[in-house]
Symmetry: D2
Subunit: 339 residues, 4 copies
Amino acid sequence: MKAVRLEEYGRVPTVTDVPDPVLLADDDIIVQVEGAGVCRTDIHAYEGQLRDVFPTPLPFTLGHETAGVIAEAGPRVRGMAVGDKVILHPLITCGVCTACRRGDDMGCSDSAFTGLVVDGGMAQFVRTSQRAAIVLDPSTDTQSIAPLADAGLTAYHAIRRAVGSLTSESVAVVVGCGGLGHLAIQMLRAMTDCAIVAVDPLEAARALALGLGATRVAGEDARQVVEELTNGAGATAVFDFVGEDETPRLSLDLLGRQGSYYIVGYGGTLEVPTLEMVLKEIKVQGNIVGSYQDLRELVRLYERGLLDSRVVSYPLLDAPRAFADLNSGIIRGRAVLVP
Amino acid sequence: MKAVRLEEYGRVPTVTDVPDPVLLADDDIIVQVEGAGVCRTDIHAYEGQLRDVFPTPLPFTLGHETAGVIAEAGPRVRGMAVGDKVILHPLITCGVCTACRRGDDMGCSDSAFTGLVVDGGMAQFVRTSQRAAIVLDPSTDTQSIAPLADAGLTAYHAIRRAVGSLTSESVAVVVGCGGLGHLAIQMLRAMTDCAIVAVDPLEAARALALGLGATRVAGEDARQVVEELTNGAGATAVFDFVGEDETPRLSLDLLGRQGSYYIVGYGGTLEVPTLEMVLKEIKVQGNIVGSYQDLRELVRLYERGLLDSRVVSYPLLDAPRAFADLNSGIIRGRAVLVP
Amino acid sequence: MKAVRLEEYGRVPTVTDVPDPVLLADDDIIVQVEGAGVCRTDIHAYEGQLRDVFPTPLPFTLGHETAGVIAEAGPRVRGMAVGDKVILHPLITCGVCTACRRGDDMGCSDSAFTGLVVDGGMAQFVRTSQRAAIVLDPSTDTQSIAPLADAGLTAYHAIRRAVGSLTSESVAVVVGCGGLGHLAIQMLRAMTDCAIVAVDPLEAARALALGLGATRVAGEDARQVVEELTNGAGATAVFDFVGEDETPRLSLDLLGRQGSYYIVGYGGTLEVPTLEMVLKEIKVQGNIVGSYQDLRELVRLYERGLLDSRVVSYPLLDAPRAFADLNSGIIRGRAVLVP
Amino acid sequence: MKAVRLEEYGRVPTVTDVPDPVLLADDDIIVQVEGAGVCRTDIHAYEGQLRDVFPTPLPFTLGHETAGVIAEAGPRVRGMAVGDKVILHPLITCGVCTACRRGDDMGCSDSAFTGLVVDGGMAQFVRTSQRAAIVLDPSTDTQSIAPLADAGLTAYHAIRRAVGSLTSESVAVVVGCGGLGHLAIQMLRAMTDCAIVAVDPLEAARALALGLGATRVAGEDARQVVEELTNGAGATAVFDFVGEDETPRLSLDLLGRQGSYYIVGYGGTLEVPTLEMVLKEIKVQGNIVGSYQDLRELVRLYERGLLDSRVVSYPLLDAPRAFADLNSGIIRGRAVLVP
C-alpha cells in the first residue's frame, strides 16, 4: 500500500510503498483510511523537534488523525465489526494500568502513539486496537470528521477543563484560528454562554472566526479589544493554540484576576515573574490530546450538527504539498489527506 | 400608592391604597416599579401554604419579581443612582454574616424576603437595599426582564449546578414548561451542548418549548421519549418545575445511573426506596432562589440576547385576574403586573 | 473445595463441597482465599430481597469481600503473578464499555458481581479477572484487609464524594457504627479536618467510635448533640449506613442548609416533602460500591497505617454462626470467614 | 502610641510615636494589638520591591498579621463588641462590589491592605473595619494566632485549592519550611491523607518539619526523594513558599504528569518551555492571601487543636532585630511583635 513515511529528520516525508499492516493482538483492527488530518505536529516530527520525546526508529508512517472503515477485526473485538465507519483516538492503550483504569488514556503507562511511535494513518490502511476506535453513524463524512481525532480533541480537552469557570460574564480568548482554533470557537459557542474573542494575524482567519461564532476578532489590537470588552477586568480564559514567539506573553497580558491560560500549541517558552503569578492569581495549564471519552463527546457534538469542521482535501500522494501549504499558512481549517 | 395586599389567608389579594414606602437604612433605595412578575409562590402564599415558613403579620404587599427605576437612594448607596434602571434580587441581605461573606445570599442569617416578609414589588413603589439591586442597560425592557428576578433566577440556579455534568452525550429533561420551564430550556440551550426533552401536559406549552430550543417534547409519553433518545440509559438531569402530584415519581423514573433530580417546584412529596437510590446512585437536589451573583450572570445572559422572556402583561389593578389566569394554566410564559 | 452456598431463598446458606474453579478467560486469575468478609448484603441476598435485582440461578457461592493469594493466572495477566497477595474488587468488568473507559467500574455494562451473580469468595478458591485484583504488600494481613473490598470501599466512595465540602467548620455525622461505620469514622478523620458525630443505639458501638476518632457520639439524643455542636446550624453531611426504619428521617433532620445526605445502607424508604428539599436546599445522594481506583486509594490509606480494620474471625465452616452473630448485632467491626 | 514606620525605602523601619487611630466609618473598629506577625513581605516592602504594586505615600505603619482586643467599635458594628478578642484579615473590603458579593475578598475593587496601603498592626492600636475581624475564643493565645492572618491564611488558601486532588496515593511537596511552610505541613496532615515531603536547605527547619508531620524531608536531594517515594511518577502537588532562585525549576521537576505547582513565595521568575507544560499537562497556580471565609476556617482548625503555630516573640520596640533575624534565616516558625 501507499504510505507517507518519515525517512530522515529534516526532510519532507515522501509517499512510498510499504506492506499492508496485519493484526497483531486479538483485539486489534485494521482500518481502511478515508481521511487523515495533517497536523503541525507532523511537521514538528519530521523537522526532528520531537526526536527526544518519541525516539522512534526511522522510517515510520505519519498520521494521527484518522477516520475510515474497519477492514479486519481480531477475534476478541466487541461492539464493532468489519464495515463499521470509525474515527481513531491517536493512542493505543493497555486498559489495565492505573491511568487507563481512571479513564486517563493519555497517561497510559504501556501505550503507543500512532503516527509517532507506531505506523499511523497517512496510508491506505492502518492497524490499531479496538480500544482506539469509536463507531460513527454510517452517514458521517469521514474526511470532515478526521481532524477531530487530534485537532478537535485537543481543543475539546482544554475547553472542557474551562467550561465550569465560564459564565455569561466571562470573556474567553482563542489565540490562533487555524486547525484547532476554528473548532475551539465553535465548541465555546456550543458549550458555554461566554463572549469569545478570536485572535489571529491573518484577515482571512479572522473572517472565518467571525462566521463561526466569535463575538469579536482581533489582530495586533488584541490587548485593546479584550480591555474594552471586559471594562478593563481582563479575560477569564485564554486558549493558546500557537504557544510560541509572542503568544505566551500576549496570553498572560490578556488575563484578568484569577484567569486561566491554557497552553495547547508549543515550541516557545513561558517566562513570567512569580510576583505576577501571585498578584493576579493566574493559573497556567498545559494541555495535551484528550481522552477516549473526550473523543466520544466530541463526536456526539459533531453528529448533533454543532460543529462545522472546515477541511481542505489532498490526495494522499500530494502529502508534501499539504505540508508545504500548512507551513505557509494558507490553509483555512484543516488539511486532510485522502488515500 | 396602589399595592396588591395579602389581607387574609384563603382569599385572593386585592389592590388597595397604602402609604408610599420611605428609606429606612442609609443604603436603602426606593424603586418605582415598572414590572412585577406573578409567581405560583404568590398563590401558595395567599392560600396560606407558606404561613409556617413565613409567619408574616397581615396585611402586606406581595411581589418578589421586580424591575423598575431608582426613585430615591440613601446616602451610603454606591455604584447606582436615582434614575438607574434596576432589577431586584428578592432578598434583602445583611452583608456581614457568614453566608453573605461567602456569596450565599439565600443563607443570610439576617435577611428579609420582599413580598413574603416585607412589602414587595406589586405596587407603584417598593423599598429595598442597594444590596438587592443590579443596574440594567437603559434600553432594557423592564416588563420582560422582571420575571428573571425569581422564575429565571431559580431556574438558573438549578441549571448552573448541573452544567458541569452535562455533555453532548447527556439528555436533560425539563418537567413543566411554564414560567420557569420556558426559561430553563433556553438556558440549557445557551449554556450546554446536551439534548433537551421538555415535558408538559399542554400542547401549547410543548409547542412553545420546541420553538425555544427543546430537542424533543413529551406529554404522557415522557418515559418512552427519554428511553428512546438515550437508548435506555436514562437522563443525566431532570429539572422538576412542578414538584407535586406525579412529577417526583416521573422524574426519578426518567433518570439514568448517577443521574441528578433537581427539585424546584414544590407542594408534593418525594417517596423513594433507599435501595433504588443506592442501586442507581441517584442524586436528588433541592433548589431555591439563586444568589445575587447568579442574578448578575442571568441578566448578562439576557442582555446578550440569549434569552427570550415571554410575558403577558396586566395592569396592576387587574392582579386578581392575573392570579386566576395563572391558576387556570392559560398563561404561556409569565404574567407581569404593570403599575 | 468447601464453599458457602446460597441454595434456597429464606434459608441460611450451608457450607458444602463444590468443584474448584478453573480459569475461563486468558486474563482470569484463581485466588486462594485467606479472608472473606461477611456483609449485611449477604443476609439480604439469602433472605431474597435482592432476587429481582440479581436473578441469579441457585445455588451459588456467596462472598464479595475477598483477599488472598494468586494461585493461578491466565496467559494475558500482566503486572501480577502467582504468589502475589491480592484484594479483590467485587465486580468483574469488561474494560471496553463506556463506563469502564471512564473508570466508572460499577457502571460497566457487561459486568459480573462476585458472590451475587457469579461464585464469590466464601470458599477456598475463587475465580475472577485480573481487572478485579490489586496487589498488596506481602506483609499485609489478609483477614483485616478483606472487609475493605466492600464495607470499606462503599464507605470510602461516599466519603470521597463529600470531602470537597467538608472543612474545619463542618460537622459530619456517621449513622451506624458497625462494619462500614467504624471504618467511615477513621476515613473522615484521615481525609478531612471536620468534626465527627457518631450515632449508634448500642453503647459498645459508641465506645468503639470514640476510640477511633469521633468528636462526639450520640444515641437517642442525636438531634440534640448535632444542634449543640453546630449552634443550631445543622450538619454538613450525614452518612447513613443503615438506610431503614427511622434513619432516613433522622438523617434529614440532622442536616443544615445545603447539607448532603449520603444513603449507603438500604431497606427502608425516604419520604420527604418537596418543600423541605427546596427550603433547605438539601442534597440526597445514593451510594453504591466504589470503583477499582477508589479501592486502590483505600488500600494505600490502609497501608499507610491510617485505618484500623476491626474484624472478628470465624472458620469458613462456621459461616452460619457468623450470619447469626451479624444479625443479632453483637459483632463490633466486621466478621471475616477464614477458609 | 508606638508604631513601626516605613519612612524611607531601602532603610529598616524604626519605632516612633504616632497619634492613636480614630474611627472613620460607622462599621470601623479600633483594636488594641497583642501580636503582630513579621512577614517577608514587610522586608520586600521596606526594600521597595512592592513600590509599584502599592505606591503608598510614606511614612506608614507596617503589619498585616494582627490579633488583639477590640478597644472601640462604630455604631453599625454587629456581632462583635468592645472587649472581644479578634484576629484581623489583612484586607479592608467594601462589601458591595462584585468580588465581595462572591466572597472573593482579595478581588475587592475598593479595598485597602492594612500595613501596605493603610496603617497596619505593628503598633499599639490599629483601625480596621468589622468586615476584617473574626471573633476568637477568649482563651486564644493572640501571639500564637497572629501569624495565621497572612502566613497561615496564604498557605491555607493554596492548600484548600489542592485538597480535592490529593488522595492517599498522592505526594505533596512543601518547598520552604519557615513561617508559611511549617503551618502548611500541618494543614496537609489535618486536611488530607497524602504523603508529605518537606524541602528546606536548613537542617533545623527539616527537623521541625518532621516533628510536625512530614512523611519525609529533603535538602539538596529533593528530586531523588520524590522520585523514590513515588516510584518515579512524581508529585501531585508542589507548594513553593520561596518562589525565587532555584525553586521554580525545582518545583516543576518534582511534578508528575498532571501535577500542580502552587506558587506562593515570589521574587524570582518562572521559565518553562511550552512543550514541557503540554507533554506533562502541568498546572501552575499563583496564590495570594486567602479570603475572610478561608480565615474563619483556618481559625477553627487552630481552635480544634490541629495547628501548632511556632512563634518567636519580640517586644514591639525590637522590631528592627526581628527583621534582621528573619533576614538571616535563624527564626524557626514566625516572629511576632508584642506591643
